[in-house]
Amino acid sequence: MTAALLEARAVTVRFGGLTAVDRVEARFSAGELVGIIGPNGAGKTTFFNALSGVQPLTSGRLLVGGVDLTGRAPHAFAQHGIARSFQTPRVFGEMSVADNVRFGLQFAGRRRAAPPLLRDEASILALIGLGAQAALPAAAVTPSQQRLLEIGMALATRPRLLLLDEVAAGLTEAEVEAMAGLARRLRDELGLGIVWIEHAVATLLKHVERVLVLHQGRKLADDVPAAVIRQPEVIEAYLGDEMAEAA
Amino acid sequence: MSFGAWLELLASGLITGGVYALVALGLNLQYGLMRIMNISHGEFLMLGAYATWAATVGWGLSPLLMMPVAFVLLGATGLVVHWLCFRRLTRTSATVDIFEARSLMVGFGLLFLVQNFASMVWGGELRGYDFMTQPVAVPLTSGGSQFAANKLLVFALALAFSAALIALLRFTLLGKAVRALMQSPTGAQLVGIPTERLHPLMFGLGLGLAGVAGSLLSMTEAITPAMGEPYTVTALIVITLGGFGSMAGSLAGGLLLGVVEALGMHFTSPSLKMLLSYGVFIGVLLWRPNGLFNKR
């Protein structure tokens, strides 16, 4: 049994009266391609924020590679190999594309083992396909390129687990396929674990091996896609017709 | 300390607090509505005081007459200041945080400008005049307490103006529009509320209130170019205590602060006044940056 890269134990996040994440248990290991789906307000992004240290937990524990990082600042999570991209790309607009990637290399990525694909910013840019845009200021590239840059910045920290937040939103089918291909390649060649939140259910289910379903902060299901779409609670709470299509 | 003495202390605190509330209401209108942290607010109070003094001493006009004049004068100044200084910032600032930081810096610039202008024109000596200084007996206790008539007048008028503002905001259509803008700028614009006109109007109103407060204070306090700054600080404390955008909070907070100050000064020492004010300010900002009355 592979050791879990990231383990969430009874993670709960409460904002005043609202429980955004409700005692969610999850384990993510190296080499997994896991998806997280759920309707709006299900707590997916809040869960990601918790997993990356950006959002403090109300209760519960987070273990990264067996080390308890509950309550630590985000940089500790990054230093232990958890990287994330943001839903709306948060790139350093005034720095060049190359410098954006170099940023992660200078900090969390510094003391971590450097596989050849993530050796320096040139190789990372080649990996995500932004080699030609290296010298442009990050604010000047297109939104979908910025999304790729987001991933590149995350990769620069040389993570073991990559959290992707709705990276396929607004992309064409071909672009989504390319994105999924990139994710698979990262998993295959770098052994990364990939956790992918996506709103477009059918799209996601095609590409992941395991899927978590969140609804109103609670985890409804955690299994292979084929099994999840048949679970009654999932169908009732969320999927309905969409699942009939996918099945 | 006797009960009567307590009441007297309380009353004198409330009197000071009334002016604090009036100044804070003006500042809150500007910050709550427009996110303009007008650090030069007190300087316009000072201008109102000088204007009233000049009219009283130079032309023999009653300060009571000057009050509405000060309001109009400084209200108009507010319109001009907003048009010249803050309107462009709204257009050129990318985020609210940037706008806030820039308007803070503009406020500092105004502070330099106005305070030194006054210093240049009127000089640094203390000015003042006497108006209704006769003591009035107020039946607070069996022995009867005495307060200067002008202080009572200041308190009454400060409360009256504060109440008028709150009534304006609560009961008129204009007030509703302003409150809507405060709560949801985008939503308000979508239903046709003219932001472009309301912002300068409310900024002017805020400054007008400062002018009135200055006019009131000119009756009881010494007038110097530097008199405004402590009131700005106090107003900042009050709006932080009472919550940004909450008018009732500013009223309550102002009165409360006046009382706290009176008690604090009595039990420690008057020279600690500024120290206490800043101490409270920092304490509140650190402990409850959203104000004491916010549920968060």
Partner: protein
């Protein structure tokens, strides 16, 4: 990376040249000019070190007066006990310590709060020292008796200014400087990329404070009589911020050049028309924030020159109807 290295080498060379010239100044120039230079150097040190932290991270610190004043008081208290160099270091150290305490308390707050809080804390310290002095010493001011020679003071302030600019050059090309820039661009993003922003901010703030404290410690002896109103004067902080903003807080030389310009302006105007000077400052600050938020150094001078040459070229063109040369 190569470009940055070249630029910082060039900057260091310029700095070395300036330092040499400044070193020679007292020998060749009059006392008045030297004193003018001293003023420029003081604000160059203050503005440069302020920009080092605040320019990059976009935190608006109004605490410079507090750090400056603390340094001055260290000198006032320790002048008879410590040798001069140690005194300056102690001033820097005390200011840095204050910054660490202040920073730990307020650096997690966003822009406006931070600015207003640093202002409030500075005033609090001023009033606290005033009150403390009255209680302990009876009077508010202190006289500095055994004062080092003016030449020593000049040299010290010059060294502090040079050190401030040199540190700025060094930081800008270091990982620390990159971290500061990340904090300014998007703090949370920088955190998720591995930057310990809390530590970085406190360190930057302390660095800024150290130079301000050293400057205060040195300048105190120039005034020989210090009191809280003078050394904790919030105007010192405002002028520093103003100079840095107008010069261009994110640039290296902007604040330095602006420091020189404003010190000269101050010296000429301040004695005759002090209020006018402050009013001009106020107007300049407003104009700068409204029209040049990134400071003068950010104006693209190449663009200005291009526009200018286009304009003059237009003015030289023959009027229509005269035909072109065949």
């Amino acid at each position: 990376m190569n470009l940055t290295n070249h630029r910082s080498t060039r900057d260091l060379l310029v700095l070395a040249g300036l330092a040499a010239a400044l070193l020679a100044l007292p020998a060749v120039a009059s006392e008045f000019i030297t004193s003018l230079a001293l003023s420029c150097l003081m604000y160059a040190a203050l503005a440069s070190s302020w920009s080092l932290f605040c320019g990059a991270t976009r935190y608006l610190s109004l605490a410079t007066s507090a750090f400056f004043g603390i340094g001055a008081y260290v000198t006032a208290l320790g002048l008879d006990a410590l040798p001069w160099p140690l005194l300056i270091l102690a001033g820097a150290g005390a200011a840095a310590l204050l910054a660490v305490l202040m920073g730990a308390a307020v650096l997690h707050l966003r822009g406006t709060y931070f600015a207003v809080l640093t202002f409030g804390m500075t005033e609090l310290i001023r009033h606290a020292v005033t009150y403390g002095e009255k209680q302990v010493a009876g009077t508010v001011g202190r006289v500095l008796a055994t004062v080092p020679e003016p030449g020593t003071v000049y040299l010290t302030v010059m060294l502090i200014a040079v050190a401030a600019v040199a540190t700025a050059i060094g930081v800008r090309r270091s990982r620390f400087g990159l971290a500061l820039a990340g904090v300014g661009a998007d703090e949370q993003r920088a955190q998720t990329l591995g930057v310990n922003t809390k530590l970085v901010k406190i360190a930057g703030f302390a660095l800024t404070a150290a130079f301000a404290g050293a400057a205060g410690a040195a300048m105190a002896v120039r005034w020989t009589y210090i009191d809280p109103h003078t050394v904790f004067n919030p105007f010192i902080g405002f002028q520093t911020v103003l100079i840095a903003l107008i010069g261009g807080a994110a640039t290296l030389w902007g604040p330095v050049i602006a420091a020189v310009v404003f010190s000269l302006l101050a010296e000429t105007l301040r004695l005759q028309l002090p209020q006018l000077y402050m009013m001009v400052l106020g107007v300049l600050l407003i104009l700068c924030v409204l029209y040049l938020p990134s400071g003068l150094a950010s104006v693209r001078w190449a663009g200005v020159r291009a526009t200018w040459s286009r304009v003059t070229h237009l003015l030289n063109v023959r009027p229509r109807g005269h035909g072109r040369s065949a």
